[in-house]
């Protein structure tokens, strides 16, 4: 890394480096899998798509999976960075503020009620889990921002934890009425799955992701300043109340979209920001975009391992993120800076 005076140069280097990594990973990942396919058959136009097994493995099974992994990884990493800055707590994760508990509750409701409709090709569970996120966000915002002067991070944290606890309790209450099969399905959902198998949910998730990103681009410098304290940030010219609201909404939308697409794989949101900070430093103008790119690559690689390492069966991706992420983080920490 060049001397830490030159943010512009470091930003270019960071974006190029992590960007290249992400592009390479996204290009290679659909080529790897537990089934051997022939690329020439995949792109052979003479075979009708509905009969082309290799093409369906590539375009139905693997490609949506890689794209979903990229979006989910980036989404959780971004919301992780923002929540950590917003709450001034490096241990914060996408599910600290209870919006994620709303997602789980929404999914549980759909599974226990045996709802099985689809809207525009999106299944009921992603829809209800996203609705749950929005509901929880609305409640947390109503509580935390009730005072005209906005919020301290403590109030926000407490409101979030309280709502999270309440929603988790509601979830357990619902499980009480569920039968064994529903509970099993809920447990499966909780382990996360990037095997979306179609493009409709991916396209649908781009709407909340897009809105979230519109918010995220305003945040990097502000997160730097807010991390020194609300009053200090205010004194430097930051509209703290407004920016904290933008941060909360963006991070929640990103979390909600990511959970709908891939299930609750929150560990990515804790560990990717830390790994990125060890590489690029603390400046959020570098950390935010780098985390999005690294989060995407990281989850794609984890999912790739999850679906090949014990072939012919697959492991839940959440286990791989923990097994890889933990030791990698320790190694980075101990090699010194």
């Amino acid at each position: 890394m060049p001397a830490r005076t030159d943010v512009r140069r470091r930003l270019t280097l960071t974006l190029t480096g992590f960007g290249a990594l992400t592009v390479i990973v996204m290009l290679l990942a659909p080529l790897v899998g537990s089934t051997s396919i022939s690329l020439s058959r995949v792109f052979d136009r003479s075979i009708p798509f509905s009969d082309n097994v290799d093409a369906q493995v590539f375009f139905v099974a693997r490609l949506p999976r890689v794209i979903a992994a990229a979006l989910v990884g980036a989404g959780f990493a971004l919301s992780g960075v923002v929540f950590q800055g917003l709450l001034r707590n490096p241990l914060a994760s996408p599910d600290t503020l209870g919006v994620a508990a709303g997602a789980t509750l929404g999914a549980m409701l759909a599974l226990t009620a045996h709802a099985d409709f689809t809207i525009f090709g999106i299944g009921v569970v992603p829809l209800t889990s996203f609705a749950g996120t929005i509901g929880a966000l609305a409640i947390v915002m109503a509580i935390a921002f009730a005072r005209r002067r906005g919020t301290s991070s403590t109030v926000l944290l407490l409101a979030g934890i309280a709502i999270g606890a309440l929603l988790a309790a509601a979830g357990r209450f619902i499980q009480y009425f569920a039968d064994v099969t529903d509970t099993f399905k809920t447990v499966q959902w909780l382990m996360g799955s990037l095997d979306v198998g179609s493009y409709a949910p991916i396209v649908a998730s781009l709407v909340p992701f897009g809105i979230a990103c519109a918010g995220f681009v305003t945040l990097p410098r502000v997160l730097d300043l807010i991390s020194l304290g609300d009053a200090a940030a205010e004194a430097r010219g930051v509209d703290v109340v407004r920016m904290e609201r933008i941060a909360l909404v963006s991070a929640s939308l990103s979390t909600g979209a990511a959970v709908s697409l891939g299930g609750p794989v929150y560990f990515v949101g804790i560990i990717v920001p830390h790994i990125v900070r060890l590489i690029v430093g603390a400046d959020h103008r570098l950390v935010l975009p780098a985390s999005a790119l690294f989060g995407a690559s990281f989850l794609i690689v984890c999912d790739l391992i999850a679906r090949t390492i014990v072939a012919p069966v697959e492991m839940p991706v959440g286990i791989i993120t923990a097994i890889i992420g933990g030791p990698f983080f320790l190694w980075l920490l101990f090699r010194g800076r």
Partner: protein, 260 residues
Amino acid sequence: MLEARNVAFGYTRGSRILDDVSVSIAPGSVVGLIGPNGSGKTTLLRLLNGTLTPLAGRVSLDGAALSTMRRLEVAKRIAVVPQETQVTFDFTVLEIVLMGRYAHLGAFAIEGPDDVAIARKAMASTGTAPLESRQFATLSGGEKQRVVIASAIAQSSGILLLDEPTTALDIGYQFEIASLLSSLNRERKTTMVVSTHDLNLAAMLCSELVLLKAGRVLAVGPTKDVLTTGNIRRLYDVDADVVFHPRAGHLTVVPVARAD
């Protein structure tokens, strides 16, 4: 000229932290805010930099009401040094100082060589230039405060509001910061408002004092006129001797007994 005229403030209806407070901060002066805990010193500072809006009265900078000015405009002219700075993430000293340039750059511009030069000059003024690449979190208390002061100078060389800048420091660092503030005022003509518990620091640094008790101004004026045994008794219920110390070159306050 930074001025507060008849300002009042309270967080909840019915209770007022400050009532009918007026202070005038002349350019180039060092004004001390003295008062017991809960007298409203921090609130007054936050009113003076526009972070809080008064319920009554008006705070103005060179005639223009702060409430009519844009946040970033105010920040370019008034900077704050808080009592303590806790950093959550591993910023370097230079990164902390450069944050002071936010008011001039906004959310999207990236600091250029000019901004870095200004930051370095500010660090030189505070004797923190050698610490540039150090992690802020690893510095001593005195070093941290000097860096924060440098950050404030990088933000605005006009007016500095300092909220109990030496309260968290030991006597060595207290002296260090006090000397630094003195020389900044002398060399850069930086206007300062210093809220403090330390009466001796106030006596050393401030040409003028504002005494606050229970949200109201008890006394205001030149230090030698206002820092009296009587006023100290009224403020703190403490019997103290106020004596000019020839070697130190300023008034000193020695508490002797409780006066109740």
